[in-house]
Symmetry: C2
Subunit: 357 residues, 2 copies
């Protein structure tokens, strides 16, 4: 089978790390009888420089017409002074909205080889394996009214609206219950129902859904408590489901618990018939761009997520994940995850090691 | 000088721990030529049981007419099935609104005696001393419209509004800059200005304020990154200023970094001419209530914050803080912070040890 993949290298280290993923995908393709047609498009700062807009219409159309989208990273200081609707991040928001990617899956899994990279004690972090399911096209990111307005007396007032409609909650809830079913069968729904009405509706809907998933153990947690519990004892979590803003905060916190965000991939999914988007959790790291220092593993594992969740090619995904483990077991590391007694590689050399494995 | 203090013991372990604070305040009063007139009032679940309302009018009036309010903790499973406007937490929101307490100061300081209680590695947590300044009477906690509404087609939709007016941002900003001036002179303002217009206004106003505080080093951080950086390297922070919701999440995360939230006090302040409210960061712990197991130290340190920030009695505050250190240095611990080789005390015995010191 041949898949059409849109590549969005973006900015900073993006082009370097995505190249490693392309090489690896090409290398495994014949082994699993797969074909890939790659097409590269502009997004983020690169698109701003070339076209004046972070997400050109052409890019969005290409993405919508492909089988999956592999993105590297967008952004950089260079574009930080632009008005906000013209900044690189708008490419992400535009892709999420334009492709209907309402479910963001963000695993925070600690690899045994990298336990020491964490700022947490070994006994606290060892074995942590959390999946954050974040709602991605609703909530305060897209709610209206929004803007900066003047009160009658001229006072400036900023406004954003956190809104969720029942069907939006139901569909992300289902994704989370299904994810829990394939994992440890425990789901924690995070909200702020003791203060926010939108959270009360969230809690009601998730609770109602639970009737359809009697095999899943559901509990609810306030967002402030969740932020604490992630630090205190992260092993208590299996799957976490939450809204867009809380998910943004908690998935980053969970990612940092592992100490190696250069290792973490993510998937953004919508209608199962339509393409998903796969990208590393880390950013574009402009400070090390072009110096062959970047860690390509999060990008590689994003390609694995693309195979598993986007294309239904679980065997090929597993092969990529095993290659990563093998290289780590052999003591090969990029600078960001370097440890005593390991061999330090640049981005390209890491790519070659992965290919060889 | 004699001060009128309103006591709100609240629920769970509240009455036990506040008694220790009363005893200690009485004991130090003559040494600093102070007098305290204590009056106790109902709030939280205790008030619901007695009057049907979590914050009786009478309680609010008494608080408003006093020099300072010392609260222990409210809440418990017992009242969790009540409609949300009748739950114990409403007492907190009502006091904040009714007393105009717009500034919440939440220190997260690691005591050298308690480093091992943290889930973070010693070298990461040692010396951490963060002050979170959280806006407490605005943002999404109070913004309108809010509620659960039906769309035209009958779909249920939950809505809350995150709004800040420029003067609200300015006044909390000033509190934070002043706090930074008395500490390490570094201020990080946390927002989500890459997505939210209300955050753009927040960032503009805080940036403008910085001109008045040339001695303070101001930087800005997105809330997701702040949640990560607190885990990665908390020592980078001195004072953090942020809105109500982000402050709720980040101050709890920061508190948990220390591993001993039974030790952390907080202050909620408004107009300097009016009374402030002082309370532990921890909750009412109904599971251990009435068993003489609670740690009274956060309550004691809240009394110290009351003396320092509420009554301007810094010398007396310092005396209380030194007493706590002395008792910890002597190896005395309650169960929640127990460590090898230390002596385990109940709540009352800890109170006696503090009095003796
Ligand atoms: C860049 C920003 C708009 C984005 C978000 O807030 O969603 C990022 O933090 C993320 O999590 O993908
Ligand atoms: C109980 C709740 C309403 C409250 C809040 O969210 O402000 C609490 O979490 C706090 O931080 O004091």
């Amino acid at each position: 089978k041949t898949y059409k993949i849109t590549l969005l290298p973006g900015d900073g280290i993006g082009p370097e790390i995505i190249q490693v993923a392309i090489d690896l995908l090409k290398a495994i393709a014949p082994k699993f009888d797969l074909g890939f047609e790659f097409e590269t498009a502009l997004a983020g700062g690169a698109a701003i420089d070339a076209t004046g807009h972070p997400l050109p219409e052409e890019t969005l159309k290409l993405c919508q017409a492909s089988d999956a989208v592999l993105l590297a990273a967008v952004g950089g200081d260079k574009w930080d002074t632009l008005p906000s609707h013209l900044r690189p991040e708008q490419a992400l928001l535009g892709l999420r909205g334009g492709m209907g990617l309402f479910a963001n899956l963000r695993p925070a899994k600690i690899l045994p080889q990298l336990i020491d990279a964490s700022s947490l004690k070994r006994e606290v972090i060892e074995g942590v394996d959390i999946m954050v399911v974040r709602e991605l096209t609703g909530g305060i990111y897209f709610g209206k009214p929004k803007g900066v307005f003047a009160d009658e007396d001229g006072t400036k007032r900023g406004v954003n609206s956190m809104t969720y409609a029942a069907p939006e909650i139901d569909r992300i809830g289902k994704v989370a219950f299904e994810a829990a079913r394939k994992r440890g069968k425990k789901l924690v729904s995070v909200d702020k129902a003791n203060v926010l009405e939108v959270s009360q509706l969230w809690r009601d809907r998730i609770t109602a859904l639970a009737a359809t998933y009697p095999d899943i153990q559901l509990s609810h947690m306030y967002v402030d408590n969740a932020a604490m519990q992630l630090v205190r004892w992260p092993k208590q979590f299996d799957v976490i489901v939450t809204g867009n803003l809380f998910g943004d905060i908690l998935s980053d916190e969970a990612a940092m618990l592992t100490g190696s965000i250069g290792m973490l991939p993510s998937a953004s999914l919508g209608d199962p018939e339509k393409p998903g988007l796969f990208e590393p959790v880390h950013g574009s790291a402009p400070d090390i761009a072009g110096q062959d220092l970047a860690n390509p593993i999060a990008q590689i594992l994003s390609a694995a997520m693309m195979l598993r969740y986007g294309l239904g090619e679980a065997a090929a995904a597993g092969a990529i994940e095993r290659v990563v483990e093998k290289v780590l077991d052999a003591g090969k590391r990029t600078g960001d995850i370097m440890a005593d007694g390991c061999e330090k590689l640049g981005c390209k050399a890491m790519g070659e090691a992965l290919l060889a494995a």
